[in-house]
């Protein structure tokens, strides 16, 4: 079980995490969503004991990684954002080294390595130098090292980032197979990945937890979300759209270009949102540059969470 209790992290004047609390029960998979700079990697680094929090604490199966590192980290496998590989070692040498670090008994290492290498599809690569591997295989070796010692808790930081579609499918399938009986927390930008693999989702935005719900409860509001980009004043547009029929919420999304406003609008299902927005913008002489319904429940929830 992973328990994060009121964790804050400050780098000089920058507050990377603010009072973050979450729990991943045994055998469950938690997906950590957030934009770049949301604090995901910092949080995962704190969970694994690589960084110390400014306030709060983390418990891995009841042990604090900073105070009782040997107990806490014995059951921890970590795949950081950049796999920690020694380029001058072969795949087999590297995994043997990591197994020894994770206290696998010497006699058990060969069988343990065979199992991990088979699981991660590295059989043909085991004699290759790590420095000669492609990005996809480096990621696989990173995942393989996280499995050394057969840890109960896996922390994976964007495990599929930078991979091609085939590799992404393979890594996801591997994580799905591993999730049986393991406690997993992983960060991702990919909403469909989180939906496929997780029992629970946490959305982190600017260092704060904006949402923490079981994946099954995501998108049960029955609302229709419209995403549109309009040229005009944000203040005027938000105020005007708030008075449309059946509107539940209007929020401006970050990242729009100058003179443009990106809006997320939530409507009752019967409200004819496109027609109303078109009519209003036409009356206000504010050209609509893009408009689309957002059919993805998780995407709607994510956009709403980060725009609040």
């Amino acid at each position: 079980m992973i328990e994060v209790q009121g964790v804050s992290k400050r780098y000089g004047g920058v507050e990377a995490l603010r009072n973050v609390s979450l729990t991943v029960p045994n055998g469950k998979t938690l997906g950590l969503l957030g934009q770049n700079g949301a604090g995901k990697t910092t949080l995962l680094n704190i969970i694994t004991g690589y960084l110390a929090p400014t306030a709060g604490r983390v418990l891995i199966d009841g042990y604090d990684p900073l105070l009782e590192p040997e107990n806490a980290k014995r059951e921890l496998g970590y795949l950081p954002e950049h796999p920690p590989l020694y380029d001058e070692m072969t795949v087999e040498e590297y995994l043997r080294f990591v197994s020894a670090l994770k206290l696998v008994q010497g006699k058990a290492i060969p069988a343990h390595l065979r199992e991990i290498i088979r699981k991660t599809g590295l059989t043909e690569m085991q004699e290759r130098l790590l420095g000669h591997l492609s990005k996809g295989y480096r990621q696989r070796v990173g995942l393989a090292q996280a499995l050394c010692g057969d840890p109960d808790v896996l922390v994976l930081d964007e495990p599929t980032v930078g991979l091609d579609p085939k590799q992404i499918t393979e890594i996801r399938a591997l994580i799905r197979r591993l999730s049986a009986g393991k406690t997993i927390i992983f960060s991702s930008h990919n909403l469909s990945e989180v939906r496929q693999l997780c029992d629970r989702v946490v959305i982190l935005h600017r260092g704060e937890v904006k949402l923490d719900v079981p994946i099954g409860e995501v998108g049960q509001s029955g609302a229709v979300t419209l995403l549109c980009t309009v040229q005009g004043s944000e203040k005027r547009l938000v105020a005007a759209m708030s008075h449309l029929d059946g509107v539940r919420s209007v929020s401006a999304l970050p990242g729009a270009q100058e003179d443009e406003v990106a809006l997320s609008l939530s409507f009752d299902p019967a409200a004819l949102p496109e027609k109303q927005v078109f009519t209003l913008c036409s009356a206000m002489s504010t050209p609509i540059l893009r408009m689309a319904r957002c059919d993805d429940d998780l995407e709607q929830v994510f956009l709403k969470a980060i725009s609040e």
Binding site: K73, R74, P84, D87, L101
Partner: protein, 245 residues
């Protein structure tokens, strides 16, 4: 012996890494070649059988070259982000630092052993007294290990290897020269303190063929303090360093 086992694991990887990259070969090659040159200038060309003088002159080489061995130990791990593997494993910082230090010491040990070719040449054409040989090499080895420990501590502050090596060389030079500096400050506590710390001052009895237990104890304490400081630097970084979020 779980703890010892884990130190051995780090030691083996680090030692192997020296010889999977050019660093180990370059260090041993350059050290051996330059020590051969010093031996030629001091002993062969002057027909001198003075082993201890030869060893004392090797100190300059050690000061110059130990940063090459230590610059990769901590800062390269940070640069390549492989420290995330070590620091999230069930391994104490002490064992990580000790394993790495012993690997660098082992490479240094090979270089020191190879200088005995010069001893053999002296023995072939003159006389090498076993006691003198023992004391000379003990002092030389302890001083080399002290420089390694100091450099490991200094290079732990940065993740860029070139500034790390330059800073380590500067630290070596400063500590070695402290006794000269002591002559320039007022007599009393400052001068005594500088003389006490100076690595050259501590090495001097060995050059004279004297086995100084005070110096042996000093070098061992110095090494322990530097390694402890390296551990503290790594530990403090958990609280200060930034993530990529």
């Amino acid at each position: 012996m779980e703890g010892g086992f884990k130190v051995t694991t780090v030691f083996k990887r680090e030692f192997m890494a020296y010889f999977r990259t050019p660093i180990g070969y370059v260090f041993i090659g350059v050290f051996t070649a330059l020590s051969g040159l010093l031996f030629y200038l001091n002993n062969l060309s002057t027909l001198s059988g003075e082993l201890l003088i030869f060893l004392s002159q090797l100190t300059l080489l050690v000061m110059l070259l130990t940063p090459v061995l230590t610059m990769r130990l901590l800062c390269e791990e940070r640069q390549r982000r492989t420290d995330q593997l070590l620091l999230t494993s069930p391994l104490s910082l002490w064992k990580i630092v000790l394993g790495k230090y012993l690997a660098a010491a082992a490479v240094m040990g090979i270089a020191i052993v190879l200088t005995n070719v010069c001893t053999a040449i002296i023995a072939l054409y003159g006389t090498v007294y076993p006691g003198e040989w023992f004391v000379g090499y003990l002092g030389f080895a302890l001083q080399s290990l002290a420089f390694l420990a100091l450099d490991m501590f200094v290079t732990g502050f940065t993740k860029n290897q070139v500034p790390a090596a330059i800073a380590a060389f500067a630290a070596n030079f400063l500590l070695w020269m402290l006794d000269l500096l002591a002559d320039k400050v007022p007599a009393g506590f400052p001068a005594d303190a500088l003389n006490f710390i100076s690595l050259y001052g501590r090495y001097e009895p060995f050059i004279l063929g004297q086995l100084s237990f005070a110096s042996v104890l000093y070098f061992i304490t110095f090494i322990a303090v530097c390694l402890t400081a390296s551990v503290r630097v790594m530990d403090a970084r958990r609280f200060s360093q930034g993530g990529s979020a």
